[in-house]
Amino acid sequence: MNLLEIENLKVSYGGIQALKGISFTVAPGELVALIGSNGAGKTTTLKTLAGLLHPAAGKIHYNGISLHNIPAHQRVHNGLALVPEGRGIFARLTVAENLLMGAYTRNDATHIGADLDRMYALFPRLNERRTQLAGTLSGGEQQMVAMARALMCRPKLLMLDEPSMGLAPMMVAKIFETIRNISEQGVSILLVEQNAKLALEVAQRGYVLESGLVTLSNSAEDLLGSDEVRRAYLGA
């Protein structure tokens, strides 16, 4: 059974239809990439899944339940976590406080402490900066905070919106290595990226979104090799 199943999802901003009926799935433990150019509807998709936007039509089934009418904050309780575009860190909270916010839905203090230690092991840079205000970190470090924070809720499905945005190549490599790492630990991941090559290299399957419609879907390998994707997204 799939962890996430989306059927004919339609989302509008006022009169503008951003998603015109898309369908896709994520299986447990899978890393799925959602690629597409600017304005294709990638962020809209993730925001709708997180509950920040409400669909005009369509179904979202997650972990065996319909997410219809489940408010955003409740979805986190069900293990659905989003690292939003632009990261959405709390600049005036310390790094440690940001991570604790990630564990807001949990009340198992001892396990939270252990998970904090795991995050600091995963991102040693954050360990040195525990008490620093998150707003004073570099972009890459902020992306680490955002990812570590999302992991603190022990998500079943982690959604990442353009984690490479605005980062230097070294940092992008580091972030993608971590994504692979998280995926290998069994967390399902829905990865949105403009950098199609990078995304398809870590993903098992991918969907191409264009103007609010899914135009291609295949294994990541086949997408990487396909002419359409190469021409449109890989600059080849």
Binding site: H73, L82, F90, L93, M101, Y104
Partner: protein
């Protein structure tokens, strides 16, 4: 008698009250970007409820200190319900409306509350019963009474408690997170409506305590008392930097001192032309000066961006 020291003491007492009320303005502003102009009226309702409760209980012959404690708890509870209701009914439906709409609503709520209080408690001044000992103490040439000492002490306790809550607890962390980025807080699983309600309730409880403090200090309660007090506390919040908790406390104490020293010396400074009844003027001079020279307040940052 040392007039200077006396004015400082008076200023600290008054400043403690301003600080407690200013915290309510600043907490709500911090989390919603909204100036809750009805907050002064919550102070008044707190005082009025405490008045009624203590009148009723005193008649039964309970000891005054116990009466005060019960009155305090009932008033705080009543104000929390009121604060919750104000947000629920007047502000929540306007959460995504243009900024002017909730501002006008706030003024409307304030007028409604004043009028309800007038209908319920009447237009006249009420004597607030004396529930605390009123011993006098001399302190280096100045005089302070028990009520004033207790006001400062309780204010200090409440402010310490609030700071601990905001900076050391899960709820406080959530409050700061919602204030900074509501949708990111939602993504952490925070029910932001609940956090906003709690913020209103906390501010309202502080307002109730402040209302009882002024009533006990001056011995008088009136349905209009919240309006000028509210404006001054708002001034204090702006002076400190609205949205900033430390700023509200600093602004409150400073405003109390400025007012008290100003009132103490205005006669001498103006050659007897103005008397100490011009005291209220200072708060508004301060407000104007802050808005001109340092609109973000003493400890505030980039208010213009949010306002």
């Amino acid at each position: 008698m040392d007039i200077f020291l006396q004015q400082i003491l008076n200023g600290l007492v008054q400043g403690s009250v301003y600080a407690l009320v200013a915290l309510g303005y600043t907490m709500v502003y911090g989390i919603l970007g909204l100036i809750n102009f009805a907050h002064g009226e919550v102070v008044m309702v707190g005082a009025m409820v405490a008045l009624t409760v203590s009148q009723l209980l005193l008649a039964t012959g309970l000891p005054p200190l116990l009466v005060l404690l019960i009155a305090l708890m009932v008033a705080a509870a009543a104000c929390m319900v009121l604060g919750y209701g104000i947000e629920r009914i007047a502000y929540r439906p306007l959460r995504n409306a243009p900024r002017l709409a909730p501002l006008i609503t706030a003024i409307g709520v304030s007028i409604v509350l004043q009028n309800l209080a007038m209908i319920f408690w009447g237009r006249e001044y009420h004597a607030f019963p004396q529930l605390l000992p009123n011993g006098l103490h001399t302190l280096g040439g100045a005089v302070i009474n028990d009520v004033q000492l207790i006001i400062m002490l309780v204010a200090l306790l409440m402010m310490t408690g609030l700071m601990l809550l905001v900076h050391r607890t899960r709820l406080g962390r959530a409050m700061r997170a919602v204030a900074e980025n509501p949708s990111a807080a939602m993504l952490m699983g925070v029910d932001i409506n609940r956090v906003i309600s709690v913020t209103f309730m906390l501010g309202s409880a502080l307002a109730a305590v402040a209302g009882i403090m002024v009533s006990a200090n001056y011995g008088i309660v009136h349905y209009y008392m919240g309006s000028i007090l509210g404006l001054k506390a708002f001034t204090a919040a702006v002076l400190g930097g609205i949205g900033n908790l430390r700023g509200a406390m600093l602004g409150g104490v400073l405003l109390g001192l400025i007012e008290s020293l100003g009132a103490g010396y205005i006669g001498d400074l103006s050659g007897g032309f103005f008397g100490s009844n011009y005291q209220d003027v200072f708060a508004f001079f301060v407000l104007i000066a802050v808005l001109i020279f340092r609109p973000s307040g003493l400890l505030g940052e980039r208010v213009a961006e949010r306002a």
